[in-house]
């Protein structure tokens, strides 16, 4: 389940990008977001971001933690961890303090993993489309 981390900790997603939704631009969320649809551009959140199986991200992501079950093209930066589940397809670089890769996941890109792998925190995004998003 994408609503749980690999360790079994439940993850809440106040925002869900529906399967038929396509967003283009820079999105910022305060909390968790689950992407069943498609985002192109840039995504940032302090919480979790999860890309469901069938979900597409063509975006650079900066999040507390990132769970991928779908397709991602873009660079991932996570303060804590990145989890690639078995159906994950990722093309892009990963910067995170922890990485979990399930058997079956496909990934091409540069990996910078470890407690020192943190990049300087990104400047807060100016464009807050998230606030205009409908909540499910």
């Amino acid at each position: 389940m994408i609503d749980k981390t690999a360790a079994g900790t439940p993850v809440e997603f106040p925002t869900v990008i529906g399967a038929d939704a396509v967003f283009k631009g820079e999105l910022h969320f305060e909390k968790g977001v689950r992407v069943d649809g498609k985002i192109e551009g840039k995504v940032s959140t302090k919480g979790h971001i999860a890309v469901s199986q069938g979900g597409h991200l063509q975006a650079d992501v900066d999040a507390g933690s990132i769970i991928v079950e779908g397709d991602v093209k873009g660079n991932l930066v996570a303060g804590d961890r990145v989890e690639l589940r078995k159906s994950a397809r990722l093309k892009g670089d990963i910067t995170a303090s922890k990485l979990l890769v399930a058997e079956g996941a496909a990934f091409v890109g540069h990996c910078s993993i470890g407690p020192d792998a943190q990049k300087a925190p990104a400047p807060p995004p100016t464009n807050r489309i998230a606030e205009a998003l409908p909540r499910k």
């Binding site: 922890k98 990485l99 058997e103 990934f107 993993i113 470890g114 792998a117």
Partner: protein
């Protein structure tokens, strides 16, 4: 190809040549064989790296385990690699690469599956592809430069 049913435990098994990447059948207990395709020596043995070990290339159709206090400085071509210590070099694993919580890999990695425990340190370009087929190792003479 039809594999004959063996009455007892099979006396042979199949591995992939670490030089030409073609399949070879070997006696189950063999430690090294000569590849019937490229006629080069293929090491089958599982290797454990317990201390500091620096070579140009380490290649086996078996497993390499770099233990907690082990450091392997080499380009690695294996079936399976387990890292609890540290590896400096490029890694090609036909099957799986597993990095434990205190493990570290500094170098590029290509493999079919990757398992990383939280705490592991990775730095390099990764290609993790369940359908990954390693390129045949480029035939080369003994390289002039040695790894310190």
């Amino acid at each position: 190809m039809v594999v004959e049913q063996q009455r007892q435990t099979p006396a042979t098994r199949e591995v992939v040549c670490t030089h030409c990447e073609r399949k070879i059948e070997i006696p189950a207990t063999a430690m090294s064989v000569s590849c019937r395709h490229c006629h080069r020596r293929v090491i089958i043995e599982d290797l454990e790296i317990k201390t500091y070990h620096a070579v140009l290339r380490i290649a086996t159709a078996g497993k390499v385990e770099v233990q907690k206090k082990g450091t392997l400085v080499a380009d690695v071509r294996v079936n399976e690699l387990t890292v609890e210590g540290s590896v400096k070099g490029n890694v090609i694993a036909l099957d799986r690469v597993a990095v434990g919580k205190k493990g570290a890999i500094e170098g590029n990695v290509s493999c079919r599956t990757l398992a990383v425990e939280p705490g592991a340190k990775l730095n390099g370009h990764y290609r993790v592809d369940p359908a990954f087929v390693p390129p045949p190792a480029t035939p080369r003479e003994h390289a002039d430069d040695e790894i310190a």
